[in-house]
């Protein structure tokens, strides 16, 4: 049987001042680690939740985002007839869309930030059924009216219901607020695509993307095959969810890499903290260790015992770090979406999985910080250490 864990628990309690150093080092590292990842996860989740599994996104072949894509009205008409497209009483559920970037002043700083203005079809809410109007009404086709996402309403000055705003050479009136369930659309302003094209002096029959609501997620391949086979079309069809996941990749990778580097450097410091704590524990308790060895506990038992102790310290550090960052969960922040050059509001998202990852990271630091001191403890000659003061 192993050396009882109560020995480690009480030993840590006896030397708590030394253990606190290691605990705080690990807690700080885990806190930063979780905060960074929750930022990346939050950003990714916001974009990914913008897509629906039963929606397809159509863009010009080879385009990287809506910004450099174009789809003509003729092509839209062709695709409306394809198999797999869902229909309502008003017709096929598709929304050809255009996007422009317009600067609006942030409420927090007063400085301008880019807002994505999306021209959509009047059927956009039927295509994206998760989006609901929460205040006012939807825009009337043909009028220069805007509906704004929930975050836009809270983040920018002059974009509240009843406000009139000027951009793109036109004057617009805000008539409603929609809730897009925390997705990227919450950071957008929507209007009639035809009106947007007119005001921005764009060709009337050219759009940048087409979002198609499918009968079901399984109909995607059918729709895609029809688009590929039609010689009049040169388009890329992808699941909407995949398009938004791709958009999140650049910034998510950047945050994860930068956060990873910061956490790694801090982790090295924390491991040294743990090493220091554990080496001093081994030095202070050399007679106890020798006594246990004399009584018949093997070298493996001693290594195991000190590893348990290091893991206990790191677990406490990990839990403390996790609890410390919990208040960040749901806190909204903003960042530039590099694919659309527009400002995107998103929240820190601390999931149970992320907390678990933080604890694993803490335990890893505990293993690294505990192994060598534990090995030293087990390798010490027993006889001289028995008389150590």
């Amino acid at each position: 049987m192993a050396i009882p864990v109560v020995y480690n628990l009480r030993s840590v309690k006896e030397r708590w001042t030394s253990a606190v150093v290691a605990v705080l080092g690990i807690a700080g590292t885990v806190g930063v680690f979780i905060a960074m990842l929750s930022l990346a996860f939050g950003f990714k989740a916001t974009l990914v939740s913008s897509g629906s599994t039963d929606n397809a996104m159509v863009r010009r072949a080879g385009s990287t985002s809506e910004m450099d894509s174009s789809i003509s009205l003729d092509q839209v008409k062709i695709m409306e007839e394809f198999p797999g497209v869902a229909h309502a009483s008003t017709g096929p559920l598709v929304t050809p869309e255009v996007v422009v970037i317009a600067p609006f002043p942030l409420l927090s700083t007063g400085t301008d930030a880019n807002v994505q203005v999306r021209g959509v079809s009047p059927r956009a809410l039927d295509v994206r059924s998760k989006i609901k109007m929460v205040q006012g009404r939807f825009f009337q086709p043909g009028l220069a009216e805007l509906v704004v996402g929930r975050n836009v309403d809270k983040t920018y000055a002059g974009l509240n219901i009843g406000d009139s705003v000027k951009f793109g050479g036109g004057t617009w009136r805000v008539v409603g607020v929609f809730d897009a369930g925390g997705s990227a659309f919450d950071s957008e302003v929507w209007c009639d695509a035809r009106v947007l094209n007119q005001i921005y002096h764009r060709p009337e029959n050219i759009y940048q993307s087409l979002t198609v609501h499918l009968d079901s997620a399984n109909s995607l391949q059918q729709f895609k095959d029809a688009a590929t086979a039609d010689p009049r079309l040169t388009v890329d069809v992808s699941p909407e969810i995949e398009y938004y996941a791709k958009q999140s990749r650049t910034l998510t990778t950047l945050i994860v890499v930068l956060g990873g580097i910061v956490a790694f450097v801090m982790g090295i410091g924390a491991v040294f903290g743990a090493l220091n704590t554990m080496y001093s524990a081994v030095a202070e308790r050399s007679r106890e260790i020798a006594t246990l060895r004399a009584l018949g506990f093997g070298a493996g038992s001693v290594v195991f015992s000190f590893m348990i102790e290091a893991l206990l310290i790191s677990l406490v550090g990990g839990l403390l770090g996790s609890v410390a960052v919990l208040p960040l969960n749901g806190l909204t922040t903003g960042a530039m979406n590099w694919q659309t050059f527009s400002h995107l509001a998103f929240a820190f998202r601390i999931t149970p999985g992320l907390l678990g990852l933080g604890i694993i990271f803490a335990l890893l630091m505990g293993i690294l910080g505990g192994f060598f001191p534990a090995l030293r403890a087990a390798r010490r000659p027993v006889a001289p250490a028995l008389r150590a003061m």
Binding site: R10, A294, L295, G296, F297, A383
Partner: protein
């Protein structure tokens, strides 16, 4: 009967032959023990005396499997321990040796009960059986009422009695005592010696003890002197009933 001439027979529980130990210090070879012979039978109480640095503790460490000799052999209850691997020796110690130290060497964060239970954690005894053994051992040393006290809550004499309980709890083949009374006042020392004598007399324990104190040594069956790395028999004393130092 204890013998130091290498002539012990098959009755010997502990048999050392040609035992030597050499340390290397700063390139210099220091011979602590040389060609030492020893035979101890079951139930004997042997005291080792000698000046500081004479090798008393080294001999105890070799007999207890805490160190390995440079020459010679040690056989305990038929097991030749000299060539055992380190891990095998650790297992052997757990089974055969009960250690009693001058500084008690109790684990300060464990209660008396938990300290005494430690050797039993290496056996296959159930929790209930362990509890029974620990209570018995603490009863033998008269500390049944101090079971849940931590070492810092006990006097020096009580701590040493916990150490004795820990040494006997797993019923080892023999007990090794390194200056068991060295850190105690005379009264406590007497109590500890009474206890050790009782273990020899009533429980047929074999005890090997290192001491500086001739009064303490005089209570053993035999006192052996270590001089220049060799054992010399100082005198064989008649066993006496408990009740004070002779």
């Amino acid at each position: 009967m204890v013998r130091v001439d290498g002539g012990g027979g098959s009755n010997s529980l502990i048999k050392a032959r040609g035992l030597g130990k050499t340390y290397s210090r700063g390139g210099e070879q220091i011979q602590v023990l040389q060609a030492l012979n020893l035979d101890v039978e079951q139930g004997e109480f042997v005291a080792f005396m000698g000046p500081s640095g004479s090798g008393k503790t080294t001999l105890l460490n070799l007999l207890g499997g805490l160190d390995v000799p440079s020459a010679g052999s040690i056989t305990v209850a038929g097991d030749e321990i000299t060539h055992m691997s380190r891990s095998r020796l650790t297992q052997w110690r757990a089974r055969h040796v009960g250690f009693i130290f001058q500084m008690y060497n109790l684990i300060p964060v464990l209660t008396a009960f938990q300290n005494v239970e430690l050797p039993l954690l290496l056996t296959s005894l159930s929790k209930a059986q362990r509890r029974q053994h620990v209570e018995t051992a603490l009863g033998v040393v008269g500390l049944s009422d101090r079971m849940h006290h931590f070492p810092r809550q006990l006097s020096g004499g009580q701590e040493q009695r916990v150490t004795i309980a820990r040494a006997i709890v797993s019923d080892p083949t023999f007990l090794l005592c390194d200056e068991p009374t060295g850190d105690l006042d005379r009264k406590s020392a007497d109590e500890i010696m009474e206890l050790l004598l009782r273990l020899v007399k009533d429980h047929k324990k074999t005890v090997l003890m290192v001491t500086h104190d001739p009064v303490v040594a005089a209570r053993a069956d035999v006192t052996l002197h270590l001089e220049k790395g060799v054992l010399v028999e100082a005198g064989r004393l008649q066993p006496v009933a408990s009740g004070g130092v002779r």
